[in-house]
């Protein structure tokens, strides 16, 4: 294509009308220039399809890299009306004194997930997850963990960092999907914040395996739970808590029924920073009160031991998809005289040991193919199964301690309706009817209402959620 002869002729006068030394140099330059031009001329020209294919391959490679990152999140804004101002509540926390209506951003989550490129067996061997929660109460870290998958079979996974405790079904069930505004009272008391710091090992067949329906997971955790907005969750003792869970999930051959069962165990505890351990026993008057089980308990470990079973069932039939979920937990919980909540920081008061049980049931009915879903939920939490009704709060004999409001059982019915505006937006209207155990031995006091009757502590929640 290039006219080499023309170029040589054009420059002949300039290059060759000089002395021999210069002539040698110029000849070399000329040959070099011509060689370069010639090389360029020989570069194969890509046809438009090859160019397009090459560009598409380049774009695909960039898209593949971007696809390894996933952003997700949701914002929940809600309006709540309480039965009475300043009431204690497990429906998104206590109402402040004098407040019976409030608007709040319950969750403002943003989650970043990165999956490493799949290996030659199609297994992504590592995952990075970081989730933050931004609300009017501040900024908190919810998840910060890595997930490593074995590169040979994809069956074994190691998770380390801060993540949901692998206990039961409700703890790991995202509140963006959960049908009731909050988890049951028991879940909130035993596992505040749902998450904990630790490491777990899980075994589950790959998606293509016949054993994919079975999963076993176990790990060691601090036991202090995740940090709240106001306090960190640095461990305060050297004991680590064990959490184990085995679960099975299957679908019918017709793919119209799905069912699952699970069993979980928690074996842990925390260091006591005071001298006395109390447990329920009969005092000199024959009443069940807290009596000293062990003196010089300081430095010993107060036990938290739970076992739980759970089941889930969904069926797609004429009225729409029906789902039933249930979970029962029982065990022993160490707490204080006024609380059975699992501690996030060192406990400097005496320790009170209690046997507890609790459960929840969800009944969920999608109304045909409409975007409406009916929600009915019932849960109970009995923090002290050894005392009930008027036994609670009875005057204690010398050397013993009375039971009190921390030993009251609660039963909660919830009724709600969910409207799914579209695949991102959903609106929930929900009514919590809370019924507490009553005792004539817990009359009115300056710091709390009377438990001689059912408290005025029902809550209506209207929640708007946008999920991305």
């Amino acid at each position: 294509m290039l006219n080499i002869e023309g170029i040589v002729k054009k420059h002949r006068g300039t290059f060759f009308a000089t002395n021999p030394a210069n002539m040698q140099l110029k000849s070399f330059i000329l040959i070099f220039v011509l060689f370069t031009i010639n090389l360029k001329a020989q570069e194969p020209e890509l046809n438009p399809f090859d160019t397009l294919a090459s560009n598409v391959a380049g774009i695909n490679s960039k898209i593949d890299a971007l696809n390894r990152f996933k952003f997700s999140g949701y914002i929940q804004t809600q309006f709540q009306v309480a039965d009475s101002a300043g009431q204690a509540s497990f429906a998104s926390g206590d109402f402040r004194p004098g407040v019976d209506k409030r608007i709040a951003v319950r969750r403002g989550r943003l989650k970043l997930t990165y999956n490493s490129p799949a290996n030659d067996k199609g297994i992504s061997t590592s995952q990075y997850v970081l989730q933050v929660d931004v609300t009017e109460r501040g900024v908190g870290i919810k998840d910060a963990y890595m997930l490593l998958t074995d590169k040979w079979s994809g069956w074994i996974q190691l998770k380390a960092g801060m993540f949901d405790r692998p206990f039961g079904n409700e703890i790991g069930y995202s509140s963006s999907q959960r049908e009731s505004p909050e988890r049951g009272r028991m879940s909130q008391i035993l596992f505040p914040g749902e998450r904990d710091l630790g490491a777990s090992l899980a075994i589950q067949g790959s998606k293509t395996s016949n054993w994919n329906w079975l999963r076993a997971e176990g790990g060691l955790f601090n036991g202090t739970g995740a940090p709240s907005f106001n306090a960190d969750a640095t461990d305060f003792d050297k004991k680590k808590d064990f959490i184990g869970r085995i679960s099975a999930n299957k679908s019918s051959a017709s793919e119209k029924i799905k069912y699952g069962v699970g069993a979980s165990v928690y074996n842990g505890g925390f260091r006591a920073d005071n001298d006395t351990l109390y447990a329920i026993s009969k005092d000199a008057n024959g009443n069940k009160t807290f009596m000293i089980e062990q003196n010089s308990f300081k430095g010993h470990y107060a036990e938290r031991k739970y076992t739980g079973v759970d089941g889930q069932f969904s069926i797609d039939w004429k009225p729409g998809i029906t789902t039933v979920r249930a979970e029962y937990i029982q065990g022993e919980q160490a707490g204080t005289s006024s609380s059975t909540s699992s501690p996030r920081a060192a406990v400097t008061s005496n320790i009170y040991k209690r046997k507890f049980n609790g459960a929840y049931f969800y009944f969920l009915q999608n109304l045909g193919a409409s975007p409406l879903q009916l929600v009915v939920k019932y849960d109970w939490y009995d923090p002290n199964t050894e005392v009930s009704k008027d036994e609670i709060g009875i005057s204690a004999a010398n050397g013993t301690k009375s039971t009190g409001i921390a030993d009251i059982r609660y039963d909660t019915w919830g009724f709600g309706m969910i409207y799914r505006w579209d695949s991102n937006v959903r609106i929930t209207l929900y009514y919590d009817m809370v019924k507490n155990e009553t005792s004539r031995n817990i009359p009115d006091a300056s710091t709390r209402p009377t438990y001689m009757k059912d408290l005025d502590d029902n809550v209506i929640t209207l929640r708007l959620q946008v999920k991305i």
Binding site: A253, E255, K258, S314, S370
Partner: protein, 272 residues
């Protein structure tokens, strides 16, 4: 003149505004059928546009959940997990069977084996049978090809032919049916499975026995229609109820006599 130009512009805008745009995504098995039907549909309906993309049944149903397709093609029934996710996304959907498909087990043309029992196929795909001489062929290692796990064909084959047993670890997963045909045509000891519509002269389809070797039936349209060939499955369209008005003309077209004629031509079994 101005009026004429304005009228023409207004008419053009109206055509563009009312032009039917439908995107269809999913099963590679249903892909060739939908492409043919879409071509004919667009010719008959000026201004309409039907975009057809493959990727596998799972990909199509996921796109339906994400609202990135109007119709999901699937060679398997929607799973319960997917139903629950659709419910959670507030997306009501409808299911239509547009054709039936027979699945053919194929080998390289040079392979002397021409028939296998279901149990033998299961043995090959689970890794128990490793050499063609174990099933009456040459002394040659069996190279097993399969679709990827996101494919409805992969799951149907596992359910119906492998009696829900697990695929062997050395199975080579291919991203598309065309790639299976190509690989098998170039690999002497290869075996794979494809929808009837993909069969061509580059590969050999095996007769299959579901009665432990008493009778072997070849995968043909006729045998699938008369139900003597057992490996037959329905092919589905799933679409959101909210988009029913938009997609029904196209769905009705594939279910019409003309659409079902394409079903036969492409190599599937008509539903009507």
């Amino acid at each position: 003149m101005k009026k004429v130009i304005l009228t023409l512009i207004a008419a053009s805008i109206s055509v563009v505004l009312y032009a039917q745009k439908i995107s269809v995504k999913g099963s590679d098995t249903v892909l060739p059928l939908t492409q043919k039907v879409a071509e004919s549909y667009m010719k008959k309906n000026a201004g309409s546009s039907v975009t057809v993309v493959g990727g596998g049944s799972g990909v199509g149903i996921a796109a339906l959940m994400d609202n990135t397709t109007d119709i999901a093609m699937s060679s398997r029934k929607i799973k319960m997990d997917e139903r629950l996710k659709m419910q959670d996304a507030g997306r009501a959907y409808k299911e239509v069977i547009v054709a039936n498909d027979a699945l053919a087990v194929i080998v390289n043309n040079s392979n002397k084996v021409s028939q296998l029992t279901r149990e033998q196929i299961e043995g090959i795909y689970t890794g128990k049978i490793k050499n063609w001489k174990e099933v009456g062929g040459e002394d040659m290692v069996i190279v097993i090809y399969s679709r990827e796990s996101s494919s409805g064909t992969y799951e149907f084959f596992k359910d119906q032919v492998m009696a829900r047993k697990n695929y062997a670890s050395n199975v080579l997963s291919m991203p598309a049916t065309g790639a299976i045909i190509q690989s098998i045509s170039q690999t002497k000891g290869a075996i794979g499975y494809v929808g009837l519509a993909y069969l061509n002269k580059e590969v050999k389809a095996l007769s299959v026995s579901y009665d432990k070797g008493k009778t072997f039936v070849s995968p043909s349209l006729e045998n699938a229609k008369n139900k003597s060939y057992p490996v037959v499955r329905p092919l589905f369209y799933y679409y959101p109820t909210a988009k029913e008005k938009q997609v029904m003309p196209f769905v009705n077209f594939i279910l019409s006599a003309e659409g079902q004629d394409f079903v036969s031509k492409v190599g599937y079994i008509p539903v009507k």
